[in-house]
Symmetry: C2
Subunit: 223 residues, 2 copies
DNA sequence: AAATACTAAATCGTATACGAACTGTAGGAG
DNA sequence: CTCCTACAGTTCGTATACGATTTAGTATTT
């Protein structure tokens, strides 16, 4: 140890974090063959910790694994994508509904500020920032969620989509405008202490509509 | 190799299955300290595959892990239990709703048969079989679920509760009777091709009511 | 030319060994 | 009596080595 690198966590932990990040940022895109020995070498560790990391990622659905063959970054075909988004809309709807009674005025203010920035992105046409802000907006609504499992499922769902988001998930201009309006409506509902069921329905529909718009835009057939 | 044991899967796979089973059937109850070397010896393998198995179980939330300390079967305190059941009611509601359009007459017949058996269990007071049948009943409703992620989440949720179910999850006599009636109502809804939202609401309420009854019965305060 | 059998390279799977970190206990100082 | 320190035992963490399996390429046969 030449330097006292205060790196927290074990090597398998770091391998896990690193791989997850590289999958998320597109370094390893879907279908990429994850060769244990190669990754181990890249990370400067041996293969055992890498195997563990991959097992965890497998359990999370981020990589698929085949005995004696190897691991590949889990691809997302259109059907997979549809199912994941559908699941996410359900989970996010629930997360928003559960959080809504706990959302305070200051949270609303933060959310409105984010939404305002999203409006600006529409004018300056900045899809990348728009997508980021959209994520932030919903995070504000979730962060008060009292049920940690729900929150965990939301994050896992997005982690699963992380790799595909950067490459194929583009916002649909027309839909983006609608989306911002729906955000306002959602905030109104929450502010007025609407029924949890109503909030849930609105939040879920908001996500579903985005998905539908995306599908229509890309021409995928949505049965 | 004295005998040609045609065991499918790798040793880590078997360790995973085995551990999961032993957690589910109560051999390892919550809080149990999972010592790698001991488990490895019990299973007749070395520690490396056991570590992998435990990593996977950790990612599924069945065991909790602490660096350089060890793994223990994830305990379920009342709060944890509440959150898990709440999550399950949401997921199961969605699963039922998504499946409902695809449930055919023969499925309905099977479900009715199971429900009839549940009625018998009420008369002969057989809580264990009742609980099993209840699971079967809902499985019939799910098995047509077109979204594999939702189905996966249902199974994971139950796996998480598996250990606690056998020891503390007892049916509440009064509630059990109600539950059977609600099953009939649920089948009616599905048969009459009710709106998916309506089915979802009914299925979710069914689960929530069971949880509430359980909480009231055990005296836990449910805010 | 197509199909099959064989060989070699690549890669995974796991046992073993050793080092690192944590835990609990015994002994001594205050 | 309490607190701190030293030490030993336990258990985890990972590197390495070697066997097992798959894959791909080549040669041979029909």
């Amino acid at each position: 140890m030449t330097e006292a690198e205060t790196v927290t966590g074990s090597k398998s932990e770091r391998a896990y974090i690193s791989l997850k990040g590289q999958i998320a940022d597109g370094t390893y895109s879907p279908g990429y063959r994850l060769v244990l020995s190669k990754i181990a070498e890249d990370l400067g560790v041996s293969v055992v910790p890498v195997r563990e990391a991959i097992r965890r990622l497998e359990a999370e659905g981020l990589v698929s694994f085949q005995r004696n063959v190897g691991a590949t970054v889990a691809g997302i075909d259109p059907t997979e994508y549809l199912y994941t988004m559908q699941t996410l809309s359900i989970i996010e709807g629930a997360a928003t509904a559960l959080s809504s009674p706990l959302i305070g005025p200051e949270d609303i203010i933060r959310a409105r500020a984010i939404n305002a920035q999203m409006r600006e992105c529409l004018q300056h046409f900045d899809p990348v920032r728009f997508t980021r802000l959209n994520q932030d907006f919903h995070n504000v609504l979730y962060e008060n969620c009292p049920n940690p499992h729900i929150l965990d499922l939301v994050h896992r769902g997005w982690a699963r989509l992380a790799s595909v988001r950067s490459s194929t998930f583009r916002f649909v201009p027309g839909r983006a405008r609608e989306s911002v309006e729906e955000h306002e409506e959602l905030l109104h509902l929450i502010e007025s202490r609407a029924d949890a069921d109503e909030v849930e329905r609105a939040a879920r529909l908001h996500r579903s509509a985005t998905l539908d718009a995306y599908l229509a835009h890309t021409g995928t057939d949505h049965s």
